[in-house]
């Protein structure tokens, strides 16, 4: 509840991110997420994002495992990259390759997540979450679930 008020100005930040030219979009490809952000009466009118199941599961997996290096909201830390920027540079094939085989970066080493049953079931969901974040569609913070279709 306490963070409701913090969302308001973040909308502007997200809009800026979205406006950055060169932001990778596969032409014609459907977005791997559904995100609706807006004032939420349950949260005193603060802006809250509601997301589909895949994006939500991706958010949760990320904030259980990946955030210990890539930080909350995927903004990066002192030893793992800001994925908001990185996701704009790679396509789904490269993403899945890194998840399956691991990745040795300039600073750190990401293990092959295919070996971890708490992660390897959710590669698609992580893709959805990270794309929603890097596209600027999903604001920082905890999202809520959209009603199931």
């Amino acid at each position: 509840m306490s963070r409701c008020r913090t969302f308001v100005l973040v909308v502007a930040a997200a809009a800026l991110v979205a406006a950055i030219p060169g932001h990778a979009q596969e032409p014609g490809a459907a977005k791997p997420y559904t995100v609706e952000c807006g004032p939420d009466p349950e949260e005193g009118g603060a802006t809250v994002c509601r997301v589909d199941r895949a994006t939500y599961v991706g958010w949760r997996t990320f904030h259980a495992i990946c955030h210990t290096c890539h930080a909350q909201d995927a903004v990066g830390s002192t030893f793992a990259p800001d994925l908001l920027a990185r996701m704009r540079e790679i396509d789904k094939t490269a993403f899945m390759k890194a998840m399956n085989e691991g990745f040795t970066g300039q600073m750190g080493v990401m293990p092959p997540w295919i070996q971890d049953p708490n992660v390897n079931k959710y590669f698609e969901e992580l893709w959805s979450f990270l794309r929603a974040r890097s596209d600027g569609a999903l604001l920082p913070g905890r999202p809520k679930r959209l009603p199931e279709p």
Partner: protein, 596 residues
């Protein structure tokens, strides 16, 4: 007995046999050295040196600097023995011996470690430093190899393998030399590692004793009738009976913090970390002896007493922080005290001889997960609203203070006998925490909780945005005497001196000196990178120096980016709050200060 016999029989053996312990004690007693992580076995991080005092500290200048050549988080600090300074780095855990005469490098130790160790280190590849003893430098490498180096030449004297990174076992702690042994622990609390403390023979590296935190009595090194918890014998199966089935095998209780030692009692002190998974729902029971302070006989490892601070942890409040050994008067009676600032936000004072609980008070007013500690049972009185176990799996418990990184993490406090105050670097961060079901696979993260962290002011709604405080604490009363807000967590080890100056570092990279009585800031200097290292002091040719390792990283390097995006505005502090990366960047540098 053995030592005495050898001395009588072999005259030549005198210096060797007497060596190990007395040598270190002699070096420690001479405050021209900084021969052990805490400045002394009691871990007070207090120096008798007084050339730099509160009247002249404002004139402090950089005397010399040294780049470690390594990025990532630099915890710990330099050791100084005579004319030599020893400094370590994060992974790959290099060690440099530096000649204080001209700051040239006497020798370098640069191990080759498997890079597969890196991803199983939960919160950056930190190392908290070296130990000196018996003419050797001891390094506890990330890959768990404990290495004894010849202090003169850097040559490897012996090595011992302490764990298996393939199972998530790694090391970050500084070892401790006690008598003829070197004591070390194990990291891997986020990988289901079962924690233990080990004593290796100083001369050979042979394992002498090993004591687990959780499991069967024989492996705990406890005596069910003599080992006590708050004055009562712990009884048989004290750990096993607080776990379901075989869960204790993934029971955590890792031992990655600092060790202290009381020579008169011959006891070593340390704490254990979180119990297995962060999901409390799936591990009912008190999960003993995770989150526990231990007093163990240095020779045998046998536990004299234990005290579990956070039974059945629901928040990741590891109990590994340092135990500072100070004699103090509590309720009109002199006590051999032990003072511990726990991750859970309570500052504990115990009798270090008996393990009796004397004081348990919050050292950050934001702490809300428990109302108080029941002094009879020692149990924190948990507030239902903040119980992630009661609220259950897949439920997001909001606004818990402190966050998982604790009101204080490993950054060690300092104590001045001149003010009788403790100087404590603290975090002022709260969290939301959602436990969920998780599957164990060896070598993979075993967490099972989703968490988000943010400045405590968002939970307390008091309009503040600071993520840290540097406080002075009266451990006899359990009272904050003064509190100095810092924009970011204070993640550096403090130093107090007979000059009535207290030093600490900030995540932006400032070395700060404050008045020991009032906390008034007397000096600051921005070092090349954020400080998560400890500040140590020594002399060379009669002149006092103060040194600190910079190099942003560690959990602070993640946690502090966390909560900042979007955390700036709702509290009316637009623009006042910028992320850490706007203040500092990576890079390990030792900066040494002196009065010109």
């Amino acid at each position: 007995m053995t030592t005495k016999c050898l001395v009588m029989v072999l005259g030549l053996a005198v210096s060797y046999c007497a060596g190990a312990n007395e040598d270190v004690e002699k070096l420690i007693a001479d405050s021209n050295n900084w021969a052990i992580w805490g400045g002394n076995y009691a871990g007070t991080r207090y120096s008798e040196l007084a050339q730099i005092d509160k009247t002249n500290v404002g004139r402090l200048q950089v005397a010399w600097t040294f780049s470690t050549g390594v990025l990532r988080g630099h915890e710990g600090g330099p050791l100084v023995v005579g004319n030599t300074l020893y400094i370590h780095t994060p992974f790959p855990n290099k060690v440099f011996s530096i000649n204080l005469a001209d700051q040239t490098i006497n020798w370098t130790y640069a191990p080759t470690q498997d890079s597969d160790t890196i991803p199983v280190m939960c919160c950056d590849t930190v190392n908290r430093g070296l130990a000196y003893g018996d003419g050797k430098i001891f390094l506890q490498q990330a890959d768990t190899k404990l290495v004894a180096l010849n202090a003169q030449t850097g040559a490897v004297v012996w090595t011992a393998i302490n764990g298996d990174p393939a199972k998530g076992e790694t090391n970050t702690n500084a070892p401790l030399v006690v008598k003829d042994k070197v004591i070390t622990g194990i990291s891997g609390g986020e990988y289901g590692v079962r924690g233990f403390v080990v004593a290796y023979d100083l001369a050979t590296g042979r394992q002498v004793w090993k004591a687990y935190s959780v499991g069967p009595d024989a492996e705990l090194l406890v005596d069910p009738r003599r080992t006590t918890h708050l004055g009562r014998p712990i009884g048989a199966n004290s750990s096993l009976s607080t776990w379901e089935g075989e869960q204790w095998k993934l029971g955590g209780g890792t031992t990655w913090g600092w060790f202290t030692y009381d020579a008169a009692l011959n006891l070593i002190y340390y704490g254990s970390g979180n119990p297995g998974t962060w999901n409390p729902v799936v591990r009912p029971g008190d999960n003993r002896w995770s989150m526990t302070l231990f007093a163990r006989d240095a020779d045998t490892g046998m536990a004299k007493w234990v005290y579990q601070m956070t039974p059945h942890d629901e928040w990741d409040y590891d109990g590994v922080n340092e135990n500072v050994l100070v004699d103090l008067e509590v309720d009109g009676r002199m006590r051999k005290g032990l003072v511990h600032f726990d991750r859970n936000g309570f500052g504990y004072t115990l009798d270090r001889e008996t393990g009796a609980l004397l004081v348990a008070e919050k050292f950050d007013p934001a702490v809300n997960w428990a109302t108080h500690v029941d002094m009879r049972t020692g149990r924190p009185q948990v507030v239902d609203r903040y119980s992630t176990g009661k609220n259950g799996q897949d439920f997001n418990t909001e606004d818990i203070c402190p966050a998982a990184l604790g009101s204080k993490d490993q950054q060690p406090a300092a104590y001045s006998p001149r003010t009788n105050l403790f100087y404590v670097p603290t975090n002022h961060v709260c969290m939301d925490y959602e436990p969920y079901e998780v599957e164990y696979v060896a070598g993979q993260p075993y967490v099972g909780a989703v968490l988000t962290m943010f400045p405590a002011g968002q939970a307390t709604r008091d309009g503040t945005t600071n993520l840290g405080n540097f406080i002075a604490w009266d451990a006899a009363e359990g009272k904050i005497m003064w509190s100095k807000p810092e924009p970011f967590s204070v993640w550096s080890g403090a130093l107090a001196t007979a000059g009535d100056v207290v030093f600490y570092g900030t995540l932006e990279g400032y070395l700060k000196a404050v008045d020991a009585q009032t906390g008034q800031e007397l000096y600051k200097f921005k070092t090349p990178s954020g400080i998560i290292g400890n500040i140590n002091t020594w002399t060379y040719e009669g002149k006092q120096y103060v040194g600190v390792l910079s190099g942003i990283g560690g959990w602070a390097g993640i946690g502090m980016a966390a909560g900042l995006e979007g955390a700036t505005d709702g509290l009316g502090a637009v623009g006042a709050y910028r992320s850490l990366s706007q203040h500092t960047q990576l890079g390990g540098v030792l900066t040494v200060f002196a009065i010109p």
